[in-house]
Structure formats: C-alpha cells, structure tokens
C-alpha cells in the first residue's frame, strides 16, 4: 500500500518514529485543513461508524470501534472503570472475631469480594443513612468456627485433616434477606461471584461472626466498586513496507515483529516479505534497532480504529457493562442539558 498524502497521513495516522511519536492529537477540526469539511455531521458519522465484535468468552469481550475519536473512546473507558455502579460490602458489623486476622483487615478483604447482584435493581443509599433500607442494602452473614477433627490420624500434620472449617472461603457467606426482599427478589440468589476466595485462616477455638451490609457504589469512590477487572483499548496498528524486502532482509524483518504479522512468500524463487496481519503486532519497535531495516518500514496506528478489550469481574456480563457505560455518558449530558434549560443564564 503506498504511503498516504501528507495531509491525509497527518489526519488519519499516528506515526511511530524512531525517537518519538508524531501526529498524536486530533487535528481535524473545522478550519484547520483547507478543502476538508470537518464540521460535525451526524449523518457522515453514522455512515462511517461501525462496531465489530471479535470475541466473547465468558467474562471477557473484545470488540472494535471504528470511526470514533479518542476523546469519546477514552470517555467510555474511564466510565467503565470508574462510574458503572456495582454492589459491594461497605459496612461490616463484627460480633465476634477471635481469628488472627485483624477486624479492619478482615473488613477490607470482605469489601473487595465481588458480589453477584445486579446493581440496577437497587438504589443508592441516602447520604447520612446509617441503617439502610431494603431497597438499597443487601445483608450477608459470615459465621464460622474452627474445631479439631476427632477422626484425624494420630501422627498427621496436614491441616486439612486435623481441623475442620479452618479455611474461610467466600462460599461461607450467606444472604440474609432484609424486610420484604424475599418478595421483591423471589428467585434471586445473591452470593459472591466466586466461591473459592480465601478470606481467612482459622485454628481450633477461633471463630468469626460478622454481619455485612452491601451498598451500591461507583469505582470513583472506592476501587472495590469497579465492575471490570480491566478495560483497555489500543489503536489498530498499520505497518507499511516502503520498499520491497527480499531474502535475508525479509527473514530478519519477520523476526522483528510479533509472530504472524509478516509472512514470507515465494515469488519467482525469491523470498518476499508481505504484511499479513498487522493487528497482531504489539509494536515493540525492534525494527529500529537494526540499521538496515529501519528505513524499510513505516510504523503507524490508525487514529480512529479502537480495539477495546473489556474483562468483567463476573457481576455483569461485559456487553451489559459497555451498554451501561454508554447510557451513563448520555445521562451526564442530559443532566447538563436540563440544568441549562432550568437555570436562566445571565
């Protein structure tokens, strides 16, 4: 593929040079380029925008967004990380804790456990409300006591045999319905997402008896409320060979990139390199370390093609999370629009 004309390149590609990155910022605003009409056009946006779902497996989702700008893609990423609400343990009422784990450490660990409860069914707690009502709080109980196993062999030193209940897992947390929650959620089963999260270790005679209140919150407040393990995006790589590369140079070039990016074809007996799948590349810039190869390729990224990768903690499926994030951005705009309309500007 021939290199693009200068202005086109500056608009569409972020070029990775040897010592720096060029054309980073979006410059396609009206008035910047003569001959280009850059004013916002919803119809043109709708024609060029598309979403392609690449892979969806369990809790992780990989999809492409093409035709959107960095500012908006980044807004979605930030909202996914920090502003999509979830339920997590906030208050821990410790009735008895004779284990070796301190109260506050235990409370911290309990707060980080992801709870499988759809946050859309609950409201935010009113600020200043200590008790919590049934519309905004979920109650869980963890009551466990470690004892010596009477059937253990005399000489064994394996803790699994000697003691029972010595490992406190998240499966020991039970839901205690508040008020009319049994009627509101008849077939709901609120429990931690994973059953095998180790909370604490006990020895005979130690016990833990705590009551936990879960509330709805957002990641901005505390990271335990973040619904994604991580959400990230990268731009689609674009590798162009400026001159035809043959023989040993082709082999060396193939080694410089991630496997599968450059493939070698046999044309008329000579080995010629060709860019097979630029998407797989991670851009380690190994090419620039070789004097003979660095002028043969141009490394760039396509400015408006984002490869999103969202991995959920299991509370909500990742596509629901993305939809919720988009709705939250709409809600923010709506909030300011209604404020603009209600307050008269002087």
């Amino acid at each position: 593929m021939a290199a693009l004309r200068g202005a086109d390149e500056m608009r569409d590609r972020v070029v990775l040079g040897e010592f720096g990155v060029r054309n980073v910022h979006t410059t396609d605003f009206p008035g910047n380029y003569p001959g280009y009409d850059d004013a916002w056009d919803q119809r043109r946006f709708e024609e060029t925008f598309r979403v392609d779902v690449i892979r969806e497996e369990g809790d992780s989702l990989e999809f492409d967004m093409v035709g959107i700008d960095a500012a908006i893609a980044n807004a979605f990423r930030r909202i996914l990380l920090a502003e999509v609400p979830t339920m997590a343990v906030e208050k821990v009422f410790v009735y008895n804790n004779t284990s070796i784990v301190q109260d506050e450490i235990l409370a911290h660990r309990l707060g980080l456990i992801p709870i499988r409860a759809d946050p859309r069914l609950f409201e935010y707690r009113n600020p200043g409300d200590q008790e919590g009502t049934e519309i905004d709080t979920l109650q869980f109980q963890l009551k466990i006591k470690c004892s010596r196993n009477p059937q253990a062999a005399k000489e064994s030193s394996d803790p699994d045999e000697l003691y029972c209940n010595h490992k406190v897992y998240s499966k020991h947390m039970t839901w205690v319905p508040l008020g009319n929650q049994t009627d509101l959620f008849p077939d709901a089963d609120f429990r931690p997402v994973h059953d095998d999260i180790l909370i604490a270790l006990l020895r005979p005679g130690q016990e833990i008896d705590v009551l936990m209140h879960c509330v709805k919150g957002i990641g901005k407040d505390h990271a335990k409320f973040s619904p994604v393990a991580t959400a990230s995006y990268r731009l689609l790589p674009d590798i162009t060979l400026l001159k035809p590369v043959e023989d040993e140079a082709a082999e060396a070039l193939q080694k410089c990139f991630s496997p599968g990016v450059i493939e070698i074809q046999n044309i008329k007996g000579k080995k010629v390199a060709r860019v097979a799948n630029a998407r797989l590349d991670t851009f380690s810039r190994e090419v620039f370390r070789h004097e003979g190869l660095k002028n043969l390729v141009r490394l760039a990224r396509v400015r408006n093609h984002y490869i999103f990768s969202v991995e959920s903690t299991g509370i909500l499926p990742p596509d629901v999370l993305v939809s919720e994030a988009i709705k939250i951005l709409m809600g923010k705009c709506q909030r300011f629009l209604s404020e603009l309309d209600s307050v008269p500007m002087e």
Binding site: S323, Q334, E346
Partner: protein
Amino acid sequence: IQADGTDGNCVTFVLHDEDHTLGNSLRYMVMKNPDVEFCGYCITHPSESKINFRIQTRGALPAVEPFRKGLNDLMAVCQHVLSTFERSMKEYRAQR
C-alpha cells in the same frame, strides 16, 4: 453549573462533579462546530472535581448555543454507538 463572562460570546462554564471523562469528549464535540473560535477545558485543582469549560464564538452567537449543541450532539453520538453496539452483539451471538 455556573457561567461568567463579559459578553455573551465568550463564556466560562464551571461544571461541578465532572472531570476529563465529560470534559474531553464535550470539548471535541464543541470544537467540531465551525462557529466556535476557541474551546477548551481545564481542571482547576485535582482535589476538587470541577472543570472550567470555556467557549468563545466568532460573530454574535451567544456562547450557550454551541454548548447546548455540543451536548445534544454528544447525546446523539452515544445513542448511535449504543444501538450499533447492541446490534453487533446480537449479530455476533446469532452467527456463533
């Protein structure tokens, strides 16, 4: 949300409880408007969550107009993104 400025053309809005998430995307949408001469936002102090969003228009257009149009455009973009995403998810699931 507060506004202050000498004449209607160049206004600084103070948006409370906002940060780069809305600030940058709104700035992008307002910049795409050919009537806007200057648009920028800044976070006054990282400990306070408010942004100063400044719009200057060329000509006699009151600055509230591009602000409102930017918000509406951003809503339209989000709506379209949402519908396209949901459609793609359905197609992906259907063909799997």
